[in-house]
Subunit: 123 residues, 2 copies
DNA sequence: ATGTAATTAGTAACCATTACTATTTATGAG
DNA sequence: CTCATAAATAGTAATGGTTACTAATTACAT
């Protein structure tokens, strides 16, 4: 595996963002730094970074894959009305794993999504 | 809303299956019962049935939506190697909700997916 | 310096899902 | 039992996120 400025840039964009960016949004941000980067390169590197467990991804109501930092233990609340994605803390990750009978040795990633109506929309 | 044989058939196929069928698989099964049913009808009714909370769906590694019964409290273990989807029991649903600070009043559906390597593949 | 294999840019293709429209059909009123 | 009407369907075309492909570029070891 060789160094590439493109891959490094993509990882930084995901790690420095507080949103849940789609491939297209990451592509647009990357173009500010590397004007010639191509969308295919973004997709390929996102998939590689996932395999290396450096980032995670999940699908949302817009039917697009959203990319996120790997090292923060949290889950997502997704509003069925406004489609916004909220981060929610997981206080006791160990306890959660034991409740779900999860063997952490053969487990890679736990993806929890809670769908409902957010506070803004229920007003 | 009017009765339709197509919608009833689609709901029965999902409820009687022990798999996690995709729209295309449901379409093929439905064609055995209603030879002229169209794929668009399957997709439209699956979306309607979801809105009515009669079925649920989730996205998997094949990047297809999988449809499942709504009334069984369980989560899914997805193997990163063979892409198989396993059902896993949730013993104490109430406790899980309280651990995640979930307000059941504004919550529709909890989608939990655990990714890893299944027993068959780790041999 | 130079060879080479990994990576990229740019474009074309793929395919799951949705949109569209003419036709069919469930249902209620007379 | 008609008949009007609006909801639902069948069949097909279009959409759009993602992947595949290929010639050119580039990191890196020798």
């Amino acid at each position: 595996m060789r160094y590439s400025k493109q891959k490094e840039t993509i990882l930084e964009i995901v790690n420095n963002s507080f949103d849940h960016l789609t491939a297209d949004e990451i592509y647009l941000k990357a173009r500010n730094l590397l004007p010639n980067i191509s969308l295919g390169t973004v997709y390929r590197n996102l998939n590689t970074l996932k395999e290396e467990n450096k980032i995670i991804s999940f699908n949302s109501l817009d039917n697009k894959e959203h990319y996120d930092k790997a090292f923060i233990k949290h889950y997502h609340f997704i509003c069925n009305n406004c489609f916004k994605i909220y981060d929610r803390k997981i206080n006791d990750y160990k306890k959660l794993c034991s409740m779900l009978n999860i063997d952490e040795n053969n487990t890679n990633y736990i993806d929890i999504k809670v769908y409902g109506i957010c506070n803004d929309c229920s007003k």
